[in-house]
Amino acid sequence: MAYTEEELKKELETKEYEYGFYTDIESDTFPIGLNEDVIRAISARKNEPHWMLKWRLDAYEKFQQMEEPDWANVTYPKPKLQEIAYYSAPKSQVKYDSLDEVDPELLKTFEKLGISLEEQKKLAGVAVDIVMDSVSVATTFKDTLAEKGIIFCSISEAIQEHPELVQKYIGSVIPRTDNYFAALNSAVFSDGSFCYIPKGVHCPMELSTYFRINQAGTGQFERTLVIADEGSYVSYLEGCTAPARDENQLHAAVVELIALDDAEIKYSTVQNWFPGDKDGKGGVFNFVTKRGICHERSKISWTQVETGSAVTWKYPSCILKGNDSIGEFYSIALTNNYQQADTGTKMIHLGKRTKSTIISKGISAGHSQNSYRGLVKVGANAKNARNFSQCDSLLMGNKCGAHTFPYIEAKSKTAKIEHEATTSKIGEDQIFYCNQRGIDTEKAIALIVNGFSKEVLNKLPMEFAVEAQKLLEISLEGSVG
């Protein structure tokens, strides 16, 4: 029997969040509320030096004068910041030498996610710094990295052990006053990852972090800082899944990348926070600030697959400050049911002969709204800057929306900028063609969506690409016509 659009829709609606389970680990959670004392307490708990506390308090002071932005093309109930607990750490704070010592409950969680540590260790040679609720509980492959002089640890550890690096670079790309959520994060960030690649070192493995919001009612404020010193290379993976929950959870992370002369950073994200159920109830608010700065001849490449979160508000950006530097942005944003995504990038060309590429693929289904919002800015001194942007949207059904808001500002006559965008649906003839070759409609759609997203999927590291492809299929499973 032919697979009808109706059936597809029904299946899609009833498709529950696959990773909606809850890990029972005793945790140490602060009382809810936000004030100076909470910030002092977070800082004290982490045994931070005085400069860090001062930095946080300054951020909090600035934060209080700021207003929550509302220009994005999303609507949601404003998170009540006073009703969130700002710190939650698994109680057993022991560092493990081997995986056997890790809480078996935790390991089960990761197994359910299909990312068992053993497997990853063996298969991909990935060092995983697992962040479970805000504190690192397991770091592997540290020795291999240490040999090369690479520092890969939690940011709290970095503050203790490498204060000079943290102090020099934290807030240098995203100042505390950058925006409302960045200021909030600067004040209350609990943990995150820190990575430093020394001069001339080619990081031998993909560095990876899995984030997970676990405790009910805890907002997560991750802070990531990646520094690639002159001539070095690093590929960094970030992925996340979150358990199903009814109340909205706030996630306001800040990621700063610094690529010094001739360095290259590749930053890949798979985001699969809980998107809310089919009626749009629950789900994570994902308000992330990500930005990198490129010095001479360096390169930063952002790749993201966004399938989760009820509301996403995220613009991984590049400041192309150095001459001949390169910025790239590859994105797939998939929204279903009542999800809303407003995502894109900013490419700020300041140096001469700087280049940027933007490839954005938006897929909207159900009642979702999917927006691309981007800025390409070429300063007067950015001679011979070059940009190419492509934003394609795929719509499934007439209850969803796809929007494009590209801002292009050129102040140099030698700039070459191209932008193109298309919006379309999956062609009936495409599906028909697949059908007549014996491919059922569901598979055909997966095939077509994968083809549509291929340019971006190709940019992901191997292990991630497989997972991302699976994720797209799951998110649209039985999916759509």
Binding site: T404, P406, Y407, E409, T414, K416, I417, H419
Partner: protein
């Protein structure tokens, strides 16, 4: 006193005067309230992010002309299309000039809004159409509504094809310096009607002038509109043009905008689709230099199925000129099978020139074909070199290439004499002799 206050106090005097404005008391009172609340738009508004009216509104503009001015034909001849027979509605400093005009009531109405407002037989049309499509909450449109008194009124009844083009021309003279002109045009095309219109604003003074014009156009079923805006004013003139077009089934509205002049030009061009199977076309060439500023804001609101829209804007910016393009396409969820295309290509000729462009799509329907493309670049060095090797001097070569870049917009111009004139203007601007007619 700043300009907003000047205008608000002038409104009281204007309101007290006897005249055709009396007929619109309710509309005008509501409109002045909107303007009083909002004032002039600032850069804080998303729609005015790249366009500042601060310098413009620092001038002290006057609403009332001091005297009625008679112009000799010789003085204004260059600005009026001569080699084609046309109807003409000519205004000098906001006052209708009968000597230069040629209006008609023979089968169609090509006349003045002031006449239409006061004469009884036009009352049903005014009631049905006036201020129906203009955006009531836009402060500059509201300002125009508040001061509505004069403008062009064109009514084409069912099945009528207007045989010659209509020219709407506004002159500003030095007899009434620093005027703010606020013409209001109403154009109604009934079923199967057809018309060609050419609109022009020309300042004859070296003093600053400010024109805030609002045009409402209604194209009923199967009506055909072909509209040309020639903007080649002097460097002291500023123009804010808001055009609202409401289209019914099978109608086709085409608007060409040629922006070559003026100090600050802002075009708000809005198409609203009221029924299915509609076609909208908007094209433009912008060619500016010095410290000129041109801003194109277009909106196509696809609300019904099976419609099409085509947009093609070319911009060439030299010296310190700045351009803005903001093209918005909205496709409502009912508007399945919509085809919407948008293209914006720009060339920056000098280092101080800049362009800000924002092609925007908001799409709620799935079975649509929508695309937009936007480029910013320079003339191809290789092509330039090739022409030079063939003995064409660099300046001419640049001129030829620039001309070629803008040329495809001209191909859809239906009035030969408009095409010739635009050709000549482009050649003059580029400082070359194109040496052939198109």
């Amino acid at each position: 006193m700043d300009l907003k206050e000047t205008l608000l106090s002038s409104y009281l005097a204007f309101d007290a005067q006897d005249g055709p404005q009396r007929k619109l008391q309710d509309e005008r009172a509501a409109a002045i309230e909107v303007f009083e609340q909002q004032g002039f738009p600032t850069k804080k508004l998303e729609d005015w992010k790249y366009t500042s009216l601060r310098t413009l509104t620092k001038n002290d503009f006057s609403v009332f002309p001091k005297e009625e001015v008679n112009l000799k034909l010789e003085e204004v001849k260059p600005y009026i299309l001569q080699d084609v027979d046309t109807f003409k509605i000519v205004f000098v400093d906001g006052i209708y000039n009968a000597y230069l005009s040629e209006t008609t009531h023979d089968g169609i109405d090509v006349c003045l809004l002031s006449a239409a407002l006061t004469k009884r037989k036009f009352a049903p049309v005014i009631k049905k159409y006036f201020n129906q499509i203009a955006e009531k909450e836009a402060s500059l449109t509201a300002l125009n509504t508040a001061f509505t008194k004069e403008g062009a009124y064109i009514y084409v009844p069912e099945g009528k094809v207007v045989e010659k083009p209509v020219q709407i021309i506004h002159f500003a003279t030095d007899k009434n310096p620093n005027m703010i002109l606020q013409p209001r045009n109403l154009i109604v095309l009934e079923k199967n009607a057809e018309i060609q219109i050419v609109e022009r604003h020309q300042s004859l003074t070296s003093e600053a002038t400010f024109t805030n014009v609002v045009t409402e156009i209604f194209t009923e079923q199967n009506a055909q509109l072909d509209y040309y805006k020639i903007q080649n004013d002097n460097f002291e003139a500023s123009l804010i043009d808001s055009t609202y077009i409401a289209q019914q089934k099978h109608s086709h509205a085409k608007v060409h905008t040629f922006s070559f002049g003026g100090k600050l030009t802002r075009n708000n061009l809005n198409f609203y689709h009221k029924e299915p199977e509609i076609n909208s076309t908007m094209k433009g060439i912008t060619l500016i230099e010095g410290k000129q500023f041109v801003d194109h804001h277009t909106l196509v609101h696809h609300a019904q199925p099976n419609s099409e829209s085509h947009q093609d804007y070319k911009g060439i910016y030299a010296e310190n000129a700045t351009g803005v393009f903001n093209g918005k396409i909205i496709v409502e969820k009912e508007a399945q099978k919509t085809n919407a295309f948008q293209q914006n290509n720009n060339i920056l000729m000098d280092d101080k020139a800049s362009i800000n462009t924002k092609p925007q799509l908001e799409i709620f329907a799935d079975d649509v074909k929508c695309s937009h493309g936007c480029t910013i670049g320079q003339l191809d060095e290789d092509a330039l070199f090739y022409l030079q090797t063939r003995g064409i001097p660099k300046k001419e070569a640049r001129g030829l290439l620039t001309y070629a870049f803008a040329n495809n917009i001209l191909q859809s111009v239906q009035i030969d004499s408009v095409k010739k004139r635009i050709n000549k203007l482009i050649a003059n601007k580029l400082g070359v002799n194109i040496g052939f007619d198109v």
